[in-house]
């Protein structure tokens, strides 16, 4: 029962948060030093869904993810591939059985994520537009 209530509350909160961030676009950012200035949507999907592990210029790419069921993560995947996070997770679970390893790096929160990207030239991650700093380079903006 308690679990149910928790789930329910969580769901409501999630919905609320979506509504909060609805107006805010998500931006995909890379290290400032990264030569890639812009990515197409397909390239973006290929990087995050594990098809490629390199930027179009053949430089190794390290996708940076948020851990768990982070609101931004949920919104990102909803926007990028039109799937709920659970499906995306299921996708990765399936791939894990074939022995395919995900090259992504997981960060607990936005600040850690930003710090990792700044520290790592090959990193690529996603953030709400409002949290973008000058040390980051936006290569794609996800619109509703």
């Amino acid at each position: 029962m308690t679990k149910f209530i928790r789930t329910l509350t969580f769901l409501i909160c999630t919905l609320l948060s979506i509504s909060v961030h609805a107006q805010e676009s998500l931006a995909v950012v890379v290290n400032k030093e990264n030569p890639v200035d812009e990515l197409s949507r397909s390239e973006l999907i290929d990087l995050f869904m594990g098809k490629y592990v390199a930027f179009p210029n053949d430089e190794k790419a390290i996708p940076v993810e948020l851990k768990g069921e982070h609101e931004i993560k949920i919104e990102f995947y909803q926007n990028l591939v039109g799937l709920p996070l659970s499906r995306v997770n299921a996708y990765w679970s399936r791939l894990r059985f074939t022995g395919r390893k995900r090259s992504a790096v997981f960060q607990s929160n936005e600040s850690d994520l930003i710090a990792f990207i700044i520290a790592n030239e090959q990193a690529i991650g996603y953030l709400p537009e409002s949290q973008i700093t000058a040390d980051l380079k936006v290569v794609y903006i996800l619109n509703e």
């Binding site: 999907i45 869904m49 594990g50 098809k51 990028l80 799937l83 399936r94 791939l95 074939t98 395919r100």
Partner: protein, 530 residues
């Protein structure tokens, strides 16, 4: 059982039809099943594709060989699929037996994240053999079921036909076979067919039988009528007093009655099949018969001829023959010949004739008959001599010995004179003791000779037993010749008479012959005149 019997034929037709229909049905069903199975196979392949499509998409998207292999192996583990392959830009994963050929279905694989982005193609080869086997199995089962159904329907049809139609018809046929038409036998209606077509058939047959019976009864009565009529006709025919014969134109006898048979017997002839045309061989005057028949037939009449029959007996048999032409129904010409016995009538007539023409005492021709004969001779222009004869001194004999003796003498004289005459000569009693002799084609000398003979004969004495006395007479004769002396008959007679009286007047007892020729008298007259 009869090879062409109804039941056998029906069974053959039904079984044949069942087999044909069964074959066609099975074939059609097989085709249908096959197509259906094929469609089902495709459908199941589509379903399989739907099942594997997310994984296949992911595999294609990522170019993950392991995942693709998993999908391909998963697919070919299905019976419906023989071989499968996944092809992407970077990858070609296929099952061992995969070959590019027909019967391969292609499914485009899209990215799991971008519905319009093609990431690869899934090839699937349908297991046609499996589908065919499946269809075969289903069809075989179906064919078996159809065959059983056909068998059951056939058996039921045959049984129903046999019990409902064939058996009643056969029983009717047998009953009909045993019935003899014309009797009051009828066919029983089968119990189960009181109102069916077969019942109607029985009714019709029975009414036909009734008609036949009626007709036969009528014919029977007619026949008996004809028999009665025939027996009457036969009686009439057989008992007819006249002989009746039916002959063909060539003379073959078709029919004759008892009277005819008796007649032939009477003629002492054998009974033959043919006596010539119109029985001509039975008659003396065949020519008369033919002439009369021809004349009568040309006038469309029956020929009636009186003819004498050939007979070896003394008694003459005269018959009236009536020949009638008959045309039969089939245009055959026959003759009905009737023979009426007229012998008696003929006899009577001849008797009457005799009485009229002959002198009853002397049996010589009488004066009338003699005159007739003379007339005939003059008409046919035959020359003859006429001798008038008168007995000398006959009256005294009559007076002395009586009329009986006179009659006796006359008979004696007549019979004596007949002895000295030729066949063509005629002796007649002219009246009383006067006689006339007619000698055709005689010369004066011949006449003289005849007269001498006559005189000699007649003067032979007659013994009168009553008076125990012999008497004899002489006769005076006068002769004249036709046509030398006279052409007129009366004058001829008168002149002969005159000559005779001349002799009588001048007669002397010693003279043997009292004959005078009229020609001599005229000469004497001429002489006296001179």
């Amino acid at each position: 059982m009869n090879k062409s019997g109804l039941v056998i034929r029906l069974a053959v037709v039904i079984i044949f039809t069942a087999v044909i229909v069964g074959l066609i049905t099975t074939q059609l069903f097989y085709r249908f099943t096959f197509l259906n199975e094929q469609a089902l196979g495709e459908q199941s392949i589509n379903q399989l594709f739907n099942t594997v499509s997310p994984t296949a998409s992911i595999a294609s998207y990522l170019g993950d060989e392991e995942l693709a292999k998993e999908v391909v192996n998963g697919l070919i583990s299905n019976d419906v699929i023989t071989a499968a392959a996944i092809k992407t830009d970077v990858l070609m994963v296929q099952s061992d037996n995969y070959q590019k050929s027909a019967n391969i279905l292609e499914f485009t694989l899209f990215s799991p994240f971008q519905k319009k982005r093609k990431v690869g193609v899934l090839f699937v080869k349908i297991n046609k053999k499996f589908l065919a086997n499946k269809a075969d199995n289903i069809s075989a089962t179906n064919a078996f079921v159809v065959a059983i159904e056909a068998l059951i329907i056939t058996i039921i049809s045959i049984l129903v036909t046999y019990y409902v139609i064939t058996r009643p018809i056969l029983s009717i046929g047998r009953a009909l076979h045993l019935i003899s038409p014309g009797t009051h036998q009828r066919i029983d209606k089968p119990v189960s067919h009181q109102k069916s077509e077969i019942g109607l058939l029985v009714d019709d047959v029975n009414s036909l039988l009734a008609k036949a019976e009626q007709q036969m009864l009528r014919e029977k009565s007619l026949r008996s009528e004809v028999q009665v009529l025939e027996s009457r006709f036969r009686m009439l025919f057989e008992n007819a007093t006249s002989a009746i014969v039916l002959v063909e134109p060539q003379g073959d006898i078709l029919l004759y009655n008892e009277t005819f048979e008796r007649l032939v017997e009477k003629l002492e002839l054998s009974l033959k099949k043919n006596y010539g045309n119109y029985l001509q061989d039975l008659f003396i005057m065949k020519k008369d018969l033919h002439e009369q028949v021809q004349i009568a037939f040309s006038n469309n009449e029956s020929a009636v001829v009186e003819l004498e029959l050939i007979s070896y007996q003394d008694e003459k048999i005269w018959v009236q023959v009536v020949v009638t032409q008959l045309i039969t129904d089939d245009f055959q010409e026959n003759y009905q010949i009737t023979l009426h016995d007229i012998s008696k009538r003929k006899q009577q007539i001849s008797l009457l004739d005799k009485r009229a023409n002959y002198d009853s005492l002397t049996n010589l021709l009488n004066r009338q008959a003699a005159e007739q004969h003379l007339k005939k001779l003059t008409l046919t222009s035959v020359s003859f001599a006429l001798i008038m004869m008168d007995l000398n001194d006959f009256k005294p004999i009559n007076d002395i010995f009586g009329h009986d003796a006179g009659d006796e003498l006359l008979i004696h004289v007549s019979s004596q004179m007949m002895k000295s005459l030729r066949k063509a000569d005629v002796l007649s009693r002219w009246g009383g003791d006067e006689f006339v002799v007619i000698l055709p084609n005689a010369t004066k000398q011949e006449v003289k000779n005849v007269c001498e003979k006559l005189a000699a004969q007649l003067s032979k004495p007659l013994h009168l037993s009553q008076h125990n006395k012999s008497i004899f007479v002489t006769a005076s004769m006068g002769a004249s010749f036709y046509p030398d002396d006279q052409v007129e008959l009366l004058e001829l007679i008168r002149s002969a008479d005159k000559a005779m009286y001349q002799v009588k007047k001048n007669k002397s007892a010693n003279e043997a012959l009292y004959l005078e020729f009229c020609s001599d008298i005229t000469h004497e007259k001429k002489d006296s005149k001179l």
